[in-house]
């Protein structure tokens, strides 16, 4: 008797299994309807009639195509129609951080960002000085191909890799105050401590910062920080897009940040003035040295772009926004 009961249960379950499968395979028409209804309460800005109407039209259309109004034929035809993959979308900015387009088998699916997921708006930057910026972009592009790249290439022939590594470590170690201070400004004493520890280890065991012993021996990776980021953390927006000669993509906020960081760099005080041939010379060497590790990266970004100027601007704002919000 008990065995029969168990068998019944198993049979019942086996019968249910296809249903489970079905539910999983079915495009999200059903659930989305529910979500529409649910969302219409707390998201009044979404035109619920619109989505509902669209969906009804969708069902009707498919029903007609199938010659039957049955729910299953709707699902079946939705699955059978691959061109539907190319159907319309329902929203711009489908929330890159939490995208929620309908699945391909349900191209008319709602683009509501699902509940429980906060959607950061896609970072954008105003570009009122576009003609100037475009000119500066072309200027910097030429400077890269005519000055930085040949200089860095020649430099890397003359200076072997181990020495370039020493220089890179040395310069990075010297600028530790910039990162320590900015981490403190941002209320991140832990990160500041990491940078301080790194600075102390590399300055001593790493022989004046020539070796990056903190990372190689102790696994301290360090935490980058700059004043533009600090301002961003304090709630200052970038302002607008500004391409600086030689320095590249920036904004009033990050340009000002660069000046503040410059003041915090010990190298600056090698010279007698805030900017003179000595500290700027050191900066140029630092740039050439670091460029020698990154030859080909700018070219790759440019090659990938359809409109390089717009692409660089977008990379700049996406990168800086991520740097401010997520680190």
């Amino acid at each position: 008797m008990r065995a029969t009961g168990g068998l019944c249960l198993i049979v019942a379950f086996l019968l249910c299994c296809p249903l489970l499968h079905a539910q999983q395979d079915v495009p999200d028409i059903g659930t989305i309807t529910i979500r529409d209804l649910r969302d219409s309460g707390d998201m009044p800005e979404r035109p619920v009639a619109y989505t509902m109407a669209a969906e009804t039209a969708f069902r009707k259309g498919l029903g007609v195509a199938e010659g039957g109004p049955g729910n299953f034929s709707v699902y079946a035809s939705a699955k059978k129609e691959p061109p539907d993959e190319y159907g319309d979308v329902k929203a711009e900015d489908v929330g890159e951080s939490a995208p929620a387009l309908g699945s391909s088998s349900d191209p008319y699916g709602d683009v509501a960002t699902d509940e429980g997921v906060s959607v950061a708006p896609r970072p954008r930057i105003a570009d009122p000085l576009r003609p100037f910026n475009v000119a500066m972009y072309h200027f910097n592009d030429k400077v890269y191909f005519w000055v930085w790249k040949p200089a860095a290439t020649g430099y890397s022939y003359v200076v072997p890799l181990p020495f370039r590594n020493l220089f890179r470590n040395f310069y990075r170690n010297l600028t530790a105050p910039v990162r320590i201070m900015n981490n403190l400004f941002q209320g991140k004493p832990g990160h500041a401590g990491e940078e301080l520890a790194k600075f102390l280890i590399n300055s001593t065991v790493g022989v004046g910062g020539l070796r990056n012993c903190a990372e190689e021996c102790f696994g301290i990776e360090g935490r980058n920080a700059d004043f533009g980021q600090t301002l961003g953390k304090w709630g200052v927006g970038p302002g607008f897009y500004l391409v600086l000669p030689f320095l590249g993509p920036s904004s009033p906020r990050d340009g000002f940040g660069f000046l503040v960081d410059w003041a915090m760099r010990p190298q600056t005080y090698v010279g007698t003035e805030f900017f003179d041939y000595q500290n700027v010379g050191l900066f140029v060497h630092e740039k050439i040295n670091s460029t020698s590790f990154h030859i080909g990266e700018y070219e790759a970004l440019k090659k990938a772009a359809v409109d390089p100027y717009v692409s660089m601007r977008d990379i700049y704002i996406q990168y800086r926004t991520d740097f401010i919000e997520n680190r």
Binding site: A3, I10, Q24, D28, E96, P99, A100, D314, N326
Partner: protein, 196 residues
């Protein structure tokens, strides 16, 4: 005893559908990425002939891994609706070719980067972000793959490198083109770009 057995049977059977459902996005991307890395590390594939074979195998892996239609839709956003059906299909093909041409050299130029998949973060019901770190020398580059559930598979629809989203970047560019021009101009621009 029998009851326990029956209970066990039910338990085992009930695991079946859910087991399929729980295929991890991270494992999926990792498996595909590792198969590409194996091809790249293959010492037999050298020189021009080897490069051809490498390219073919990478393309095959990419075909399995990327959902180009989803990627195109999300790249165009609402502008997608302005394209006719034929334009949409052509756009997907052109965009795919553009991405292939752009990145295949970068991938085959692989030397000895170390790729480590760290974790996955669920974004929505159907989408997940698989996070990885590529280490080359002393530089670490975080690369995140955004994947969407398609049937039992996870398909990549966006790649985020150091906080810069690929589809977001192209969207900004395409929007500028589509702002003042009909969709055909975008198609023509892409055609020219991929040399067709």
């Amino acid at each position: 005893m029998r009851r326990a057995l029956a209970g066990l049977m039910i338990f085992v059977i009930s695991m079946v559908p859910f087991h399929v459902f729980a295929a991890s996005a991270l494992d999926m991307v990792k498996t595909n990425a590792n198969s590409v890395l194996d091809v790249l590390r293959d010492p037999k594939l050298k020189g021009e002939a080897g490069k051809k074979v490498k390219e073919q195998r990478i393309e095959a892996a990419a075909e399995k891994l990327f959902d180009y239609v989803e990627l195109s839709k999300r790249t165009l956003g609402l502008n997608w609706n302005k394209l006719s059906m034929d334009q949409r299909k052509e756009f997907v093909e052109l965009f795919k070719t553009l991405l292939r041409n752009t990145y295949i050299d970068r991938i085959t130029a692989y030397t000895n980067e170390n790729v480590e998949f760290t974790r996955e973060v669920q974004l929505t019901d159907t989408t997940t972000e698989v996070q990885s770190v590529v280490t080359r020398g002393s530089t670490r580059v975080p690369i995140n793959y955004r994947v969407i559930k398609k049937g039992d598979d996870w398909m990549v629809y966006d790649v985020v490198i150091e906080g810069v989203s690929l589809i977001s970047n192209y969207r900004t560019q395409f929007r500028e083109i589509l702002g003042n021009n009909p969709p055909q101009v975008l198609i023509d621009t892409l055609r020219k770009r991929v040399g067709k």
